[in-house]
């Protein structure tokens, strides 16, 4: 009887695994087809049945993109925005997170911390219009500054680092550092920063990927095609040259590669980052 039950259970588990494997295919088929179409000619793409394997037209497709814009330009633009922003955001967030985690008795601590948490529920669309006007007064439209400098203050990043530092650094460590004569900020740079490296990495990956994917803000502040970041450039290409589907797919693929490489290298940190918001 028990053996029979165990057998039935095993069969059920196997069935679940097979069904889930099929469902997971639905999620990656669009990506797979993107890579296949990127290597095919226009007429091959429109055949039925559609090509399931790679073709040999990738070089020609590349030149077709190059006729519209320098294919690596948007990738470079996205890097110029994402890398400095990520470095600055991580530093500013870690510093503030450290302040909140360590000086819990400072006057105003509680109020400022609650304010920081409140910013998480703050809809970015509320600031979009005045932010655009502000950028035009600063003379920052059509530059990368609006995408980098204001983004350094991230309530999300501060809350993240506050939680992370609070749970990884014991209070005794601060006391020990103080005994050794380390002041607040040198404690941060020489004692705290080296310990919280995994937390910094997680926040950095999450910031890099979400910045890479940003669409609305670049759309509002950038007007010159030569400055377009990856999503903007691809949207433009897909509107003006939508009939050349293989070229659009190749450009799409090129824009995706950096993110997927980053994910392959740092997927553990990325996933740690996802769940950190849920665990309070």
């Amino acid at each position: 009887m028990r053996k029979l039950l165990a057998n039935r259970e095993r069969r059920f588990n196997l069935l679940v695994t097979v069904v889930l494997a099929l469902v997971s295919l639905l999620f990656i088929v669009p990506l797979y087809w993107t890579t296949v179409f990127a290597t095919r000619t226009l007429s091959e793409v429109f055949q039925f049945p559609p090509p399931l394997w790679y073709g040999g037209n990738i070089v020609q497709n590349y030149f077709n993109i190059a006729n519209v814009f320098p294919p690596f330009r948007p990738i470079w633009n996205s890097l110029v925005v994402a890398v400095p922003k990520t470095a600055g955001l991580v530093l500013v967030s870690a510093l503030a997170g450290y302040g909140f985690a360590r000086y819990t008795r400072a006057p105003g601590h509680r109020f400022l911390l609650v304010m920081t948490f409140a910013t998480l529920f703050f809809p970015p669309s509320l600031a979009l219009i005045p932010f655009f006007l502000q950028m035009s007064w600063f003379g920052w439209l059509n530059t990368f500054w609006p995408l980098i400098v204001p983004a350094l203050a991230s309530g999300f990043g501060v809350v993240w680092m506050y939680t992370y530092i609070g749970s990884t650094i014991p209070r005794e460590l601060y006391e020990a550092a103080e005994m050794d004569g380390a002041k607040g900020l040198s404690t941060f740079f020489f004692v705290v920063l080296p310990i919280i490296r995994p937390g910094l990495a997680a926040l950095a990956v999450w910031t890099l990927i979400s910045t890479w994917n940003d669409f609305q803000l670049p759309l509002v502040v950038l007007a010159e095609g030569s400055q377009f970041t990856v999503p903007l450039a691809l949207t433009m290409l897909s509107t003006t040259h939508y009939s050349d589907m293989p070229a659009v797919m190749l450009a799409t693929l090129m824009g995706l590669v950096p993110v997927f490489v980053l994910f392959a290298l740092l997927s553990r940190q990325f996933i740690a980052g996802l769940t950190s918001g849920a665990v309070k």
Binding site: L95, F100, L126, P130, M245, G277
Partner: protein, 306 residues
Amino acid sequence: MAQGRGGRSMLKIRRNGAFYASIAPFFLIFLVFSVFPVAFSFYLGFNRWDGFSDPQFVGFANYAQALRDPIFQKAIGNTVYLWFWSTLITVGLALGLAVLVNEYVVSGKTYFRMVFLLPLLVAPAIAAIILRVFFTSNGGLVNLLSGAVTGTPSYFDWLGSEAWIKPLVVLLVVWRWTGWHMIIFLAGLQAIPRDIYEAARMDGVGRWPIFSRITVPLLLPSLAFSIITATLGGLQMFDEPYVLTQGTGGTNNAATTLGMYLYATAFTQFNFGLGSAVSWYIFAAVVVFTVVYQVIVRRSQAGAAA
């Protein structure tokens, strides 16, 4: 006396100088680039302004004008539709997948953990481009397939169709976000003690009652977090419908969301006052949902403590 207290608090502030120094960069940037714009947006909401001439105070006229505009009303309906269906399907699917992967999958757990996350790496704008390729009327894969099944070539314009454009936006959101919610649920499931399941199974409780009576109630905090996140995103949805309809909002504004309406009033009609009023409507909706969320979380915590 008062002076003495003031002197002591000055001392306290100086002793905590490192605290203020460490949070200063964050708050300064936040003040200049977030608090100021929000205050300014409040002012703009009560003014008519095209960005060039002098702003003109109009009271609540912008707020009233938005409510009377049939396109704004339609945008509310569209946003609610897209928020509701994308949240329901994404969260439901992710919950099912997470429970199945956690409880029943025999091998390849790491694969299942990763594979559903891949679409999240694809920018919403780029995902919309890929979806467009599949659904274009002339030679899109979906039409090719349906043509092959029915035997007559199909040129149905999915993206131009008023009936289909919203489900396509939902499909896009579900494709990108299911993996994220799944990871949240998997983390929540890990926190449920295994012996509860063992005990229930010993008592001969079936799979469905275990799911509905044990797993879901214990997963309530993760569920609430995942739903509020999907809701905050859903209310402000912009990228997906914008790129999918190439900025038009679709035939007859069938997929115009509040976010797109705001964008159009401000950046194509240069009616900054009206756009700001719309952003405060979105803010009001976000506040309502956030308060409801806080109440639910507090209740469930009180329930867990009791």
